[in-house]
Symmetry: C2
Subunit: 209 residues, 2 copies
DNA sequence: GCCGCGATAGGGCGGAGGACCTATTGCGCT
DNA sequence: AGCGCAATAGGTCCTCCGCCCTATCGCGGC
């Protein structure tokens, strides 16, 4: 269901941080990370993600070096510190399907992951913007996509700890009956049975704050 | 309650990724981020975090430059790509309280944040390891710290979507009565009233999987 | 040896919550 | 004009949940 990705970067803070951030996006799942090119190769001998995210600058074996050895089995996106044309050219030559600066916003990275997962290429800097726009929205679950605005509001409140029918009704300025109706509709769409499961789903789908 | 921090780094992927990763630690709260030194200064004119995390290499105004202007109001930890003594020396001179490589593991970063929040200094590379060790454990809420092992197991199951008394009893191989007793104890300790709120707390406290 | 407490289990009681059904209003699309 | 649907609200029924109280067993500490 979700797009399964692997992240390779030698800086733990970026690697683990990005892993957590991407994992929290409903349609993206980080299944493993690697601290250098060799680790990445070892990893890919065992598992096959849908998309690989590689940093260029890494000890032992660089991202570009790793890609050359892989010959593009799973599509790869190269991320780098200083986005220069020379690096972009090298990445493309090594078989990368995408190229992004580490300064790119996370929604762009998510869109890029969806793009290459769908078989598109993001190498031409000019064309990239258009392609990304077509992959902006996260691919939510069937049920989650069917949620109405009011249902999302209610879920968001639930996920913030407002659990009783009375409190929910007060916060939304509607009757307790309507709260129960909305909840029943949510249970139906998400295929769950109670408020506790609704909280789990709300947080998994990123419906909170 | 939680340690309030601000992150300054020009690379969005590191900045936002790290923000999300740190925010998920129960006793750490990321209240804002900045993309360069100037933004950081603007931010600190408005808000006062407990700890600042700054990258050295940033456009417009470097991390070191920003620290010099701040004169160490909130304690700062400098993070950098290539951990060299020259940079460590400069960071110390600019008033930094800590110095870490971006390759440092996240638990070390969390421990470093707790250390400087507590008023300690992490500049001597040799002494750092000992100090970090003393700040390994996350500072949980009063109530959360009082949870017993079995109560955590139950919470963890709840947070994974097992919500009915019957299912919980089956998964833990205990009677439904005991499940209710454990739940009542959890409600008491966490000052909540039902399963939905328990799920919210479980996830906030990182008790899941 | 006993106290405290974690883990286990039972009973009763009242209310909240979930399932099922109907109904009205207003909006947008055809 | 008519359809579909989101948002609102009401009703009934019965289960399950939260609350209060009691009780046993075994372990570790004072």
């Amino acid at each position: 269901m979700a797009i399964r990705i692997v992240i390779a970067d030698d800086h733990t803070m970026l690697r683990e941080g990005l892993a957590q951030a991407l994992d929290s996006i409903p349609d993206i799942e980080v299944i493993a990370t690697a601290a250098d090119g060799r680790e990445l190769l070892t990893l890919l001998a065992e598992i096959t993600p849908d998309v690989i995210l590689v940093d260029i600058e890494m000890p032992r074996l660089s991202g570009i070096g790793a890609l050359r050895k892989l010959e593009g089995a799973p599509p790869a996106i190269v991320v780098t510190m200083h986005s220069e044309d020379e690096q972009r050219r090298k990445a493309a030559a090594a078989g990368a399907k995408g190229f992004l600066s580490k300064s790119a916003p996370l929604p762009d990275l998510a869109a890029a992951i969806r793009s290459v997962a769908a078989g598109e290429e993001l190498l031409d800097a000019a064309a990239t913007a258009d392609i990304l726009d077509r992959h902006r929205q996260p691919i939510l679950d069937e049920g989650a996509a069917a949620l109405t605005g009011r249902e999302r509001e209610l879920l968001s409140l639930l996920a913030s700890g407002v659990s009783s029918t009375e409190d929910l009704a007060d916060r939304l300025f509607i009757s307790q009956k309507t709260v129960k109706n909305h909840l029943a509709s949510i249970y139906d769409k998400l295929a769950i049975t109670d408020r506790a499961q609704a909280v789990v789903e709300a947080i998994r789908l990123g419906i909170h704050r």
